[in-house]
Symmetry: C2
Subunit: 780 residues, 2 copies
């Protein structure tokens, strides 16, 4: 080998050691350093690892360590390829971090045996770079999010380099393909560097990859088209590859702050590099056959066993380990303390997390002298609060959104900041600029991925999105939720800021955008995840939204989903009451009902701003037209209060639930989302047989907001009809009112179809308490 | 204007007419051709359209019509940008198609008034190119899927050109970014052409777009990197732009079949082109302010009204319409009959749809002499059936999957075909080639988008995917479901083949990939859509899977979700019984229970292959250890049978449900997915209070399959414990068995942690009926 010096010798030793440890994790139960010949019982019964991507990941890790050592560079590492676990775990063990966090896995032969055994083993550690893996903020189980995570980590970390290995399989995904353009949203000087390393090992599970099979000139064009300066490192000869990689990294890091275009590396090395070239007559190294385990019958086939031993000995472990401890040539390539990528605090963001400096949300309160008389845009008010959150936390809070911040009425934030934009600016651009704290790109994947990366490295943020289109990131939510579920059980992972969603422009006010924009089903996806980490809030007005937002921004390790409209809705309560209502999570609105000392004849429950408005209007209609009927109105802000306490930490005790909702009176529940979600949450409650839920039942089109409500039977008139249908004691005396309600619905629907707007006597969207809710007054 | 001839005059006239009609749709209720001056009451009360993208879409439509006319070119048009409705509707009306399908919207002044009125009007048509829009297969409400749809439409349509306008907003999405590489999966000669037209009008809702603000050389590089030959057409002077566009299209179409690289067009024209340049002192044309309505206060502000009239008159409608009918200069640019893009049958795929030539699924049956004695991989058998489906339908069926066809054990299909691959082929590539019918790319977005485009143009297919990662396309499923929901109500839209999902490598057998790969929640997303179109099947073995697959491939206008494992499971019944069981959708497995003439003491219900196995094992344990207990086993294949008939067309009548499940006995339901889904479906059933559901409760890691079952309490031992807990009559005599079950669980869990594999007496995954299900035999 024609190494260029001691440094590269150390890099090579480190690489060989990491490869040895990776193979050991995949194969061995015992006898980690073959002092004695390998025997079948030393081998794991289930061979579950993935070798293919590992040597490439190790190669990059070894070289980055040299850069870190020589330049005292602050750097973290993201392993994009799936099943990168063996590499990242080997690295953490070589650096000593693993043994610091898991003392039983010590840096000696016994510890090495434990390291090998626990990998992909029941009760052990996953085969991805999961939360259990020191130095990881990116699991890589579901592919596509590495580069977005990398940018999120780099934002507001000016001294940091985030090295991001992107697998060529991963590169075919939509999320990754969109992420290349994230460099237009990175601000030199303020943000750290992202160094994408596109690792072309050529194969996925069973297929070649697109980017490995297009002409090199196209690939170079593509990377230049993304705005990068690509550097190609290619080869299968380790010595040459080492030299080329080292030169490339030196050139890149020498010019990091002065480069006209951000660098990226195309690393073309064989899949399963340094593993068995051929097994049973079939080529393995450099083919998809090395994706999982190159030798699959090691326990059964003595030839495979011998080949494994030969392979592992090819790394010359006797040079690399002393009594199981990394030997000097390997240790020489390990950086110091927190410079070790496996110990870098950015990759355990909770240790860096500082609470937000939050203004007092009460200062933004809407004045409410009398409930339900004024009307305010909740998100409009929230925008003012967020403006000041941004101003007071100029380097630790970002607002993400797919070009919808203004549409969602959060524009007040632009009094404090711009949208970040590092592409060309033109005269006339408004609220666009370098250094903005609002991140807008028409990719929900990028918004989500950036925010995840930002949170995982110890900062804070909020993702505002049209409600229907948040489904675009369902799977990213799932994966982040799983990360949080796992991380909470790992003592050394410190709590991070919650992932906060603000879903606005919601199903009931997407009337003008039509059916495609109407989908409240994200809540159903969210509630499939562990109750410990998911929270759903449906504040009905501006003051409750402020209180909920303050709560969410202070919370840790949750996913908080806030659904709130941007259109003006009735102001229901003064701030003190609003805060108390949100703290309780649900409660009676006494001024909205008319129950007597014997309790209600019927309970009108509601969750969501539009359902609350319609419920209030229905209660008003009932009070006017059936004054003897005793009506209770219950508003639910914190949806999880409906769950039994055995199912969710916020679950209301049964006795309280029974007291609020009764066990024997009809409950007409007007809900923001798909109706069966309420049944799912309440089916164990005593009063459940009496609960009748109205909600979105997948009827929609381009029409007026009130017509949308009628299409789905969540409107005031239908609620009154539901009450009449379910309170048998009303008897025939309610029949005329029921008919009038039905007639009103029909009249309103026809009016809307003719005139293109709501009938003028629908005062609902500004419903004052003193009106009749728009029923033509025939009673005189 | 320096037009180069009569043709371009016709193109320009057509363009002006389309622009006039688009503005009219956005603004006018009446007085469609201003014979009299516009008055406020002529204007819609709610201005809901989006002008910004429209003139560009019209420009392309006008020019493509010339190409079609001159070359008799078969072509369809995909409008990617959001809110492209006015353009595509105007086009369909100008071509006469609109009036043919909606006779009340005739080609005269009255019809034009109706056309204007119905756009974005209650009871009218959406602002996107929705199913109601003739010539559309792509709504464009949720952005990102245009190019994938275009490729799907082009596959196996060799004479067809799919012109696909991609908005520069849409281009920022992940799905679209991934779609550029679809050209590596298009086979010249067999597949039609896709002509991407990247329309850079520069702005999204409130923001500039990335691709409009990067240097032109980068943009060109990017398109070359995608493998395209880019042609730039830029300008704001209509005459020059017309000439450049016409020349470009001529050059492209002259060389269409001989081009070395597929062409694409970068069309750079102002947002809101030809609309008001300035309103109230603010620039509008060419800025984001023209995204929606350039003039917003037309009813209130006489200056806005006058400006609208001036704008509309600027198109010189007197030259374009005669008594409201398109005049000769416009008509000259309209192709004939089905060559009209608005009338092209490919865009109403149901009219072209031919049933698949299906082999008899019974021919692939696994022989089952005695239930639950043999074991077979269900997807392995399905692969043989699909092989022959592919062979018999060589141009109308495709199998999509993200590099998982082999992993999902469908490899038999490679006996009949290859994976399509139009990038470089290397020696050693297996089952890769030109003309393959299997479409594999590591992008669920592309698989889904291709299949949607393929189905919407009248063909058939199946998407096989890891269960957890199908969430990546939740939102695409939502949008396709909404398309089907709407299309079913439109008489001229003919039924299309159902969208079939095969979810394999499911939650219970992703033990080796770990937690990130474990998520059965897609079913919850699916069931939020209208019951008329969603179907969910959980066949428990190979024969039932064959029967279900045959049924799904014959169905129309549904989304069918089939969940089936790839690992061998017990063969439960011979084919005749399997087909009958699937037709009923659920039923008693008499041989698995031991109920006497008085009916069961307990019902063990199951849905899904692993839960069925565990339920059978539990029934066996109960029979052996509590022989007096009368047990009924009910297997559910068609999940929707659980719904009340009022909620789903497959819903079992209450009397039958009661007869199967009883109304008063405990029902222990072992379910494949999240448990509350069963409650959601059954909460109105009489026996619901007795239903106790086991399912995935978000516990997972890298472990053995049986350990995964135990982690989530769906295992046989826990089911026996559940029975004991819920059959009070068993009394204390069952206590020892309950304790033994608990002990067995603990012993097995510890064994697995120690040995890394299941205890040898877990015979479960090959569970033969004659064993004790792995309980250590202490009874003697």
């Amino acid at each position: 080998m024609a190494m260029s010096g001691k440094d590269l010798a150390a890099v090579d030793a480190y690489w060989r050691a990491a490869n040895y440890l990776s193979a050991g994790q995949i194969y061995l139960l015992a006898n980690p350093l073959p002092g004695e010949p390998l025997r079948p019982e030393h081998v794991k019964p289930r061979l579950l690892g993935h070798w293919g991507t590992t040597p490439g990941l190790n190669f990059v890790l070894a070289h980055l360590n040299r850069v870190i050592r020589e330049r005292d560079q602050d750097m973290i590492y993201i392993a994009g390829p799936g099943h990168g676990g063996p590499a990242v775990v080997a690295h953490a063990w070589l650096e000593g971090t693993y043994s610091e966090l898991y003392p039983e896995v010590s840096q000696d032969t016994e510890g090495m045996a434990r390291l090998f055994r626990r990998f992909s083993f029941p009760g052990g550690v996953p085969s991805h770079a999961a939360p259990e893996t020191p130095g990881s903020i990116h699991e890589g189980g579901e592919l596509g999010y590495s580069l977005a995570h990398a940018y999120g980590a780099a934002f507001d970390n000016p001294g940091l380099v985030v090295a991001c290995v992107i697998g060529d399989g991963e590169a075919e995904t939509g999320a990754l393909a969109a992420s290349w353009h994230a460099n237009k949203f990175r601000e030199p000087g303020r943000d750290g560097h992202v160094l994408p390393i596109l690792h072309l090992n050529g194969y996925k599970i069973a297929n070649p990859t697109v980017l490995a099979r297009i002409p090199e000139r196209e690939l170079i064009s593509l990377m230049e088209g993304y705005g990068h300066r690509p550097y190609v490192v290619a080869g299968d000869d380790p010595a040459e590859a080492h030299e080329r990689m080292a030169e490339t990294l030196d050139e890149i890091f020498d010019g990091l702050d002065s480069a006209d275009r951000p660098p990226m590396i195309i690393l073309r090395t064989p899949k399963g590099w340094t593993g068995p070239e051929e097994v049973d007559g079939e080529p393995v190294e450099g083919t998809w056959r090395s994706h999982q385990v190159p030798l699959s019958r090691v326990r059964e086939d003595p030839a495979h066993l011998a080949r494994l031993e030969e392979w592992m000995r090819s790394y010359r472990p006797e040079e690399l380990f002393e009594d199981g401890r990394p030997a000097e040539p390997v240790r020489a390539n390990v950086p110091e303390g927190p410079r070790r990528m496996s110990a870098n605090p950015h990759a355990n963001g909770g240790v860096l997390l500082a609470p937000l400096v939050l203004p007092d949300f009460r200062d933004y309160a809407v004045e409410v002298k009398s409930p339900a008389t004024g009307a305010t845009s909740p998100t409009g008010v929230l925008g003012e609060y967020l403006r000041d959150v941004i101003a007071r936390n100029p380097a630790t809070f970002r607002l993400m959104g797919p070009d919808e911040t203004a549409s969602n009425r959060l524009s007040a934030v632009f009094e404090a900041t711009d949208r970040e934009w590092n592409a060309a600016l033109l005269p006339g651009d408004e609220n666009m600029g370098r250094g903005g704290r609002v991140m807008e790109v028409l990719s929900e994947h990028l918004c989500q991925g950036w925010l995840e990366g930002y949170l995982l490295t110890g900062r804070h943020g909020l993702f505002n999105c049209y409600e229907a289109f948040i489904h675009i990131v369902d799977s990213m939510f799932n994966q982040h939720a799983k990360w949080l579920e796992s991380a909470r059980r790992i003592p050394w992972r410190r709590p991070i800021a919650s992932l906060n969603y603000l879903l606005s422009s919601h199903v009931w006010r997407q009337d003008h955008n039509g059916f495609s924009h109407q989908d409240p089903g994200f809540l159903d996806v969210v509630l499939n995840k562990k109750p410990e980490i998911v929270r759903v809030y449906l504040p009905p007005d501006a003051n409750t939204l402020l209180s909920v937002a303050d709560h969410c921004l202070r919370s840790r390790d949750y996913v908080n989903v806030i659904v709130a409209g941007k259109q003006p809705v009735l102001d229901l309560m003064p701030m003190d009451e609003a805060a108390a209502h949100c703290a309780r999570g649900l409660g009676i609105l006494p001024w909205a009902g008319n129950e007597g000392p014997d309790g209600p004849d019927v309970v009108l429950a509601c969750a969501g701003d539009v359902p609350t408005l319609e419920t209030l209007a229905a209660a008003d209609l009932l009070r006017r037209h059936l004054p003897d009927l005793s009506v209770r109105v219950v508003n639910v802000v914190d949806l999880m209060r409906l769950s039994p306490p055995s199912e969710h930490p916020h679950g209301l005790p049964d006795a309280e639930f029974d007291a609020l909702f009764t066990t024997d009176r009809p409950i007409i529940f007007d809900f923001h989302g798909y109706p069966w979600l309420i049944h799912r949450l309440t089916y164990r409650r005593h009063g459940h047989p009496n609960i009748h839920v109205r909600g979105y039942k997948e009827e929609g089109t381009t029409t007026t907001p009130f017509d949308m409500a009628m299409l789905n039977d969540i409107d005031r008139y239908h609620l009154v009809m539901d009450v009449i249908d379910r309170v048998p004691s009303l008897g025939v005396r309610a029949a005329p009112l029921r008919q009038r309600m039905a007639d009103e619905r029909l009249r309103k629907r026809l009016y809307t179809r003719e005139h293109g707007e709501d009938a003028p006597d629908i005062v609902g969207w500004n419903w004052p308490a003193e009106t009749s809710g728009g029923v033509a007054d025939e009673e005189g």
